[in-house]
């Protein structure tokens, strides 16, 4: 089952490699991982999307907590949360394709952020299933390039992760 784990950790050189090393050393999956400093520059916030049985997820959160530089760990999927991923897709856009691509971008509430004679670059934000749906909806052969940030997650309402 898919889990989204949010980690608050010291913004120190090497902290990221400890997390990644833990996943590879213990054979856990990383579907996606994003990390950046928070409003407090001494802390980084990481979102890890992973899959595994309940036992595996329990071990993952325990082992993350064991890392000296990790301050807090929360499995967001245990409660209500919001998930967003930014995706940029460069698509072929020639002739009547141009109109079709524009329409598809509109339907998915995407924005065209770069235009050439032959291509559009479309920016989409949403949970991963929405971004997947967009890629499925357009003609596969028209996709020139895709880049996705991986999911970032945050708890809903009063669920707050901070020091």
């Amino acid at each position: 089952m898919k889990h989204i784990i949010a980690v608050l950790l010291e913004n120190e050189a090497g902290a990221l490699s400890r997390v990644v090393g833990l996943f590879s050393a213990r054979g856990y999956n990383i579907e996606s991982l994003t990390v950046a400093p928070t409003e407090d520059p001494s802390l980084s916030r990481m979102t890890i999307q992973t899959t595994g049985s309940d036992e595996v997820i329990e071990q993952i959160t325990k082992h993350l907590n064991r890392l000296i530089e990790v301050v807090k760990v929360v499995d967001l999927t245990e409660g209500a949360y919001t998930e967003r991923e930014l995706m940029m897709v460069k698509v072929r856009a020639v002739g009547k394709e141009r109109e079709e691509m524009k329409r598809m971008a509109d339907i998915f509430r995407g924005r065209i952020i770069d235009v050439t004679e032959k291509s559009y670059t479309i920016e989409l934000t949403g949970d991963q299933t929405k971004n997947d749906a967009f890629l499925d909806a357009i003609e596969r052969g028209a996709i020139l390039e895709t880049v996705r940030t991986g999911s970032s997650g945050i708890g809903r309402g009063e669920r707050i992760l901070r020091v």
């Binding site: 010291e10 050189a13 990221l16 490699s17 090393g21 050393a25 950046a36 329990e58 907590n65 000296i68």
Partner: protein, 603 residues
């Protein structure tokens, strides 16, 4: 994440703004300028370090110069960095103090890796100080450069690269704090050469340290302990299974008190031997792959299991599916939450320091009106005594005065049981025989590599212990295979006058490999026979020690007696033992712990 470029910039310009130290400096100590190396020495002195095992090299020359100018810490020059870490590790296991090793960059570090991983697997508190090439040379493939932090990351509790000498005192404080608190473990501190050379203002060693991201629990949850106790007192077939955590937490007395109050049977893992006295009737022996019939059967058939500072290792519970066939409630006390429900599902987890939790449990039992069910307990003990009657450690003494390895260990035990004796071992058959036939009645007397199973630890462990315990007898029970992996340390033993006694059970085979090949590979002894063994007697003499060759069972006792008399000499006893002897009981890989082979007839 802080990016590498920013790191390089701050490293090349040390006058950059400096993050304020979180640790509070000592009140005393007027400001003075010290070199990084001197700050390091001050830190080691403040931590009460008495011995450092190490090996010099280019990147640690400033540190060695600082060692030269002080006389409170004794440095022991080993012959190979692996042994430096093992010796400091052995010292830590025997004393409970943090063991300290010092190695140079590059090959110094890579040689130390086996030692660090060994300590990590057994949760031994250590600080390993490594030299590193100067900060400006890092990443340039400099001479003797390696990515120490990267190489050691998976085998340490934590590691640091100190890029600014002003951070050194605080980093050392953190390193010692992390190493000895919570679930202990080795911490590596990597110090570039320019950092150990640079002069910086020194305000004294920090007295306290605060880390918002690291606050290990000590006290267990009162409610959980109460629930555990209800379960434990209502048990019909209770069993107490304890591991290395009891020793690490110095909770041996509490364990003894608890077992005595309850009258329940108790077993220790390989790492936990000595936590409960082996000579006591309530002790069922070691459990696991080479555990006793009674210890393993009780593990499988108990209805309430109290696991204390143990981690349900694959060598302990065998096949987890087989283990799960019998229903039992499990209470698990451990300081590390990730050890709980890792291999088996636990009903009542208690996260906390073993000593604290057991003390609280004992206090609650004293107050409790509920007492153990004596009828049920009596029946359970009858069952256990039935298993014990099998006398699974009985062995055939053989004919023609052949030396049985078990006999050597038994004789050693009989001779030294009343003295303060430390037994180290290497890894293999001899290790199991030592664990089975030497009865450890005191904690921290059995020193071996349990988790990683590192051959070669025996001699360095023994010399590390002997330095700390000069009045105790220290024996290294080893094999002719293992002992050759760190035999160069015989030289260190002479230089530092650490007279140890080496009991080599020489069967001319890599015995445990040969045993598995016999059991699992139809006797195809692939590369487990050692031809061209050295003459160990002459080898010992070449190193300036005493060598003895013992070939007959009737000579075992006189030889040990003679070696014991040579108090001030290191003695290498080469016992030529029965080459075909195997360790029994044995649980084959993949089998359940009650599916034991009991003797050669079961093969």
């Amino acid at each position: 994440m802080e990016i590498a470029k920013a790191e390089v910039a701050s490293a090349s310009n040390p006058s950059n703004s400096h993050p304020s130290a979180k640790a509070k400096p000592a009140a005393a100590g007027a400001e003075q300028e010290l070199r990084g190396a001197e700050v390091l020495i001050k830190a080691l002195q403040a931590e009460g370090v008495k011995y450092v095992w190490g090996y010099p090299g280019g990147a640690v020359l400033h540190i060695y110069d600082a060692f030269f100018k002080q006389d409170t810490i004794q440095h022991v020059l080993v012959r190979h960095e692996q042994a430096a870490v093992h010796a400091a590790d052995g010292y830590a296991r025997a004393t409970g103090d943090v063991g300290v090793a010092l190695v140079t960059s590059g090959p110094g570090v890579t040689n130390a890796v086996t030692g660090i991983a060994t300590a990590y697997m057994d949760s031994i508190p250590m600080v390993i100080v490594c030299g590193q090439v100067p900060t400006h040379a890092i990443g340039m493939d400099a001479f003797q450069e390696c990515d120490t932090v990267g190489i050691t990351r998976p085998i340490v509790k934590h590691n640091f690269l100190v890029k600014d000498a002003r951070d050194l005192a605080e980093t050392m404080k953190k390193a010692f704090h992390i190493a000895r608190s919570g679930r202990p473990g080795p911490v590596v501190v990597d110090i570039p050469k320019d950092v150990s050379f640079k002069k910086v203002p020194y305000h004294g060693y920090p007295q306290t340290v605060e880390m918002r991201s690291y606050n290990p629990v000590r006290k267990g949850h009162g409610g959980q302990i109460r629930k555990a106790l209800q379960l434990l007192l209502a048990a019909k077939r209770p069993y107490i299974y304890t591991g290395g955590g009891v020793l690490l937490s110095n909770a041996s007395n509490e364990l003894r008190q608890l077992v005595d109050m309850l009258g329940y049977p108790c077993t220790n893992t390989l790492m936990g031997l000595g936590a409960y006295p082996a000579s006591d009737r309530k002790f069922l022996g070691m459990l696991g792959m080479h555990g006793t019939v009674e210890a393993n059967n009780a593990m499988q058939n108990c209805d309430v299991l109290l696991a204390v500072g143990a981690r349900f290792d694959d060598r302990v519970i065998g096949n987890p599916k087989h283990f799960a066939q019998n229903e039992r409630k499990i209470i698990h006390i451990d300081i590390d939450p990730s050890s709980i429900s890792k291999r088996v599902r636990v009903d009542i987890p208690i996260v906390g320091d073993v000593k604290d939790v057991l003390s609280e449990m004992i206090a609650m039992i004293k107050e409790s009106a509920t007492k153990p069910d004596t009828n049920a307990l009596g029946a359970w003990w009858d069952t256990i005594e039935g298993w014990r009657k099998r006398d699974c450690l009985k062995y055939d003494h053989g004919q023609n005065d052949i030396i049985k390895p078990q006999y050597v260990v038994e004789t050693l035990w009989n001779m030294t049981k009343d003295a303060d004796t430390y037994i180290t071992s290497d890894v293999g058959q001899h290790q199991m025989w030592a664990a089975q036939y030497y009865r450890f009645d005191q904690p921290r007397r059995w020193i071996n590599s349990g988790g990683l199973g590192t051959m070669g630890v025996g001699i360095p462990y023994a010399m590390g212990i002997k330095l700390a315990k000069p009045d105790s007898e220290v024996y290294c029970v080893t094999g002719e295979g293992s002992v050759q992996m760190c035999i160069q340390e015989l030289s260190t033993c002479l230089q530092y006058n650490t007279p140890i006694k080496i009991v080599a059970l020489n069967n001319r085979y890599l015995g445990m490999v040969r045993q598995w090949q016999e059991v699992e590979y139809e006797g195809r002894y692939s590369h487990s026979y050692m031809d061209a063994l050295p003459n160990f007697v002459k080898l010992a003499e070449a190193y300036g020690h005493v060598g003895m060759l013992i070939e007959r069972a009737s000579d075992v006792e006189p030889a040990l007696r003679e070696a014991r008399k040579l108090k001030d000499r290191t003695v290498f006893m080469d016992f030529r033992t029965d080459p075909t002897e195997n360790v029994f009981p044995m649980v084959q890989a993949g089998k359940g712990i009650t599916e034991m082979l009991l003797s050669a007839e079961d093969l």
